[in-house]
């Protein structure tokens, strides 16, 4: 046993030495950048190349898993003081749980911050101080659909929930999967619930504030409970693929692109993934906001993820410079050149190129007519960590919507207490 242990030790020592050697800047500065492995990197790589040319700062990308496991990696690395110089992470409620003032550099007074839209800033702020820049374009949460199949079957974009169900009936009768479920990647199960928030706030404008202050619950608010009911209705009516619990995000995108599945409740960032998976099909994909039971339909908007500078990193100044370049006109141009944006940018003066994807064009009327609302996680700091699993249970008929709402209210209570919010 002894020799092998020495081999392992020697190997570790070599790895440490090499790792240490790699982080010594040879020419200019090299920053490390932690990002999840589900986001498309083309745009960021475009900015990286441009920044290296202009600032002499290069980046090494560290990939981490997405979803809850990614949260785990980020939280553990922050807690152990072993964070990359730059990190890419959700804005909104998930970001709030990272204790930003302790971990990230305050960017409030940086000159470029005046160009970042306030609607984004509020999602990466704690006590009025701003800690991040928008890493991407804003996204819509709603329904991606296959326009070719819609044209074949003579369907129109639905503006009420009943019309959507009628469309699904027609698609089902035509022998196709009306709604694609990809619950193997459980985060995708939340979309119908979360994208319904435009309809919730249209009926109950103070819901977010009441919910944060513990004056309202999902189970006790019919219009909020309705979001869980919609999720189950889609399943109970038999619109979904039989293997929805074994299907992954990527398989779902392929089904949507080739038209064997016609609707996919999703965030519009997925368009970038479709473009990579099926470049010739991405123009067949359209998008609409999740319709409500009555009233004008609107769009639930997701703020982009943020990029944050680690406070205890070795290269804080270089990292701040890089971040500033990222939101500059040059930086955004380099980003858009490599990756077509999946929605409007949260930076003033950044206009969308003319050849933007059709599904992104479908989003613009909602913005132009003001029929948008930020998703609940951007207007309330609480989001229960068990929502993906709870949505899988509702969306595959294991639990009733009411039981799920009660369970989720419990989950949220834990989160609110953990954050130390008043009223809980």
């Amino acid at each position: 046993m002894r020799p092998s242990r020495f081999v392992v030790l020697a190997f570790c020592a070599a790895a440490l030495f090499l790792g240490g050697a790699a982080s010594i800047p040879a020419q200019g500065t090299t920053l490390s950048f932690l990002i999840d492995n589900q986001s498309a990197l083309d745009g960021i790589k475009g900015v990286m190349a441009a920044a290296e040319k202009k600032l002499g700062i290069s980046l090494t990308i560290d990939l981490r898993p997405g979803g809850a496991e990614g949260d785990n990696v980020v939280k553990t690395r922050l807690a152990t003081g072993d964070m990359d110089d730059l990190s890419y992470y959700n804005s909104g409620s998930l970001f709030q749980a990272l204790n930003p003032p302790q971990n990230f550099v305050d960017l409030t007074d940086e000159p470029y911050m005046k160009d970042v839209l306030d609607s984004f800033k509020s999602t990466v702020s704690v006590n009025g101080r701003v800690y991040g820049i928008p890493a991407d374009a804003a996204m819509g949460g709603g329904w991606l659909y296959n326009k070719k199949v819609y044209a074949q079957l003579g369907l129109k974009v639905p503006t009420t929930w009943a019309q959507l169900l009628a469309n699904c009936d027609r698609i089902k009768a035509a022998g196709k999967t009306a709604v694609i479920g990809s619950y193997k990647d459980d985060w995708t199960s939340q979309l119908i619930f979360l994208a319904d928030y435009f309809n919730v706030q249209a009926k109950d404008p103070t819901f977010a504030a009441d919910y944060t202050a513990h004056r309202a619950t999902i189970a006790g608010t019919p219009v909020a409970l309705r979001s869980f009911e919609k999720l189950q209705e889609i399943y109970k009516r038999g619109y979904m693929n039989k293997d929805l619990l074994a299907t992954t995000f990527e398989q779902a995108l392929k089904m949507l692109a080739d038209g064997s599945g016609v609707h996919y409740p999703m965030l519009t960032f997925a368009l970038v993934n479709i473009k990579t998976l099926a470049p010739d099909k991405v123009n067949d994909i359209g998008f609409f906001g999740q319709p409500g039971d009555s009233g004008a339909s609107g769009l639930t908007v997701w703020m982009p993820a943020g990029i944050y500078v680690y406070k205890n990193g070795k290269n804080v100044d270089a990292a701040k410079k890089w971040v500033g370049f990222f939101v500059s006109k040059e930086g955004i141009a380099a980003d858009m050149e490599k990756q077509k944006p999946s929605g409007p940018f949260a930076v003033r003066g950044a206009s969308l190129p003319a050849d933007v994807l059709p599904a992104v064009k479908d989003m613009l009327p909602y913005f132009d007519s003001g029929r948008t609302a930020p998703a609940l996680e951007f207007v309330s700091p609480i989001k229960g960590p068990n929502l993906p699993q709870i949505c899988v249970e509702v969306g595959s008929g294991i639990t009733s919507p009411l039981d799920a709402a009660r369970q989720y209210d419990k989950d949220v209570e834990k989160q609110a207490k953990q954050l130390g919010l008043p009223g809980w």
Partner: protein, 288 residues
């Protein structure tokens, strides 16, 4: 002359081991007992008494772990004990290709659990998986192995058995080989057949090996995490969540106090189930 002279000398020999044991085991255990009674953010804590334990037992998404864990441990342990014994008897008899078959049985144990989990979750895919395609070729509609809420836990347990039965078999083979041949010869003189040899010699005398298998498989089952995580992540919903995967999820969610409480509970469950089981089993052993 007193033999119990008080001297610091022996303690010096004890000190290094005691330091390691105290610093790496005792101290963290005591600290975790404390933090299990707090709401903890890793930098600040707030004392909440037994709230964390209460929510572990009352919230359905947490308490489902107890039934699942015990069920999982019982299924995997039971199958490993029975199948391992049968394979052990078979592979300790003189037969063709014995060495090859022994390696075949042990082989799954050499593969990383995560790799096994990922492989089987694609083999068990309801429509594209090899298992269901083979069943379909025979005209049998295969179930959704990992999607059906009543079946998912059993499916994972079966994969665990496939992977772990090799170790059980090896322990059994060692036990069977060490049985003195005189017993078999004596039975043969009395005209006993193969079944009687198994019933009256092998079974009672392989008892110590069987006890080792029971204890190892049961504790292993109670603490399982990696296989479940690789195959279902506790899903669909919470139906295959075990105590260990629930602890992991609470930790991921940032509920460090709650996660610590879960670890204390797991420690208690393993101790309170495994120790009496071990006592009970060893009382029934016979000497060779």
């Amino acid at each position: 002359m007193s033999t119990t002279t008080r001297s610091a000398y022996p303690w010096l020999f004890l000190a290094p081991a005691a330091l390691v044991y105290g610093g790496l085991f005792l101290l963290p255990t005591l600290i975790s007992l404390f933090f299990s009674m707090t709401r903890w953010t890793l930098t600040a804590w707030y004392f909440t008494g037994l709230d964390n334990f209460a929510s572990f037992f009352t919230e359905p998404s947490l308490s489902i772990g107890f039934t699942n864990t015990v069920l999982y441990a019982a299924i995997t342990c039971g199958l490993k004990v029975v199948l391992g014994l049968l394979l052990g008897v078979l592979l300790s008899s003189s037969m063709r290709a014995r060495g090859f078959l022994r390696s075949m049985v042990f082989f799954p144990n050499l593969i990383s659990t995560i790799a096994v989990g990922i492989t089987f979750s694609s083999l068990m895919h309801p429509s594209r998986g090899v298992i269901n395609q083979a069943l379909a070729a025979l005209g049998i509609p295969g179930p959704d192995w990992l999607g059906n809420v009543h079946l998912a836990l059993v499916s994972v347990a079966l994969v665990d058995v496939w992977k772990g039965v090799g170790v059980a078999t090896v322990i059994y083979i060692a036990g069977i080989v060490s049985i003195p041949p005189q017993y078999y010869e004596a039975l043969q003189m009395d005209g006993g057949n193969a079944a009687q040899k198994f019933r009256w010699v092998t079974l009672p005398l392989v008892r110590p090996a069987m006890n080792a298998v029971v204890i190892l498989a049961f504790i292993g089952g109670l603490r399982t995490f990696d296989l479940v995580w690789a195959m279902t992540r506790g899903g669909p919903g919470f139906t295959t969540d075990l105590i260990a995967s629930i602890i992991y999820k609470q930790y991921t969610g940032g509920f460090y106090g709650l996660a610590t409480a879960g670890n204390v509970i797991l420690f208690a469950v393993v101790s309170f189930l495994a120790v009496p089981l071990y006592r009970w089993l060893t009382r029934h052993e016979v000497d060779l």
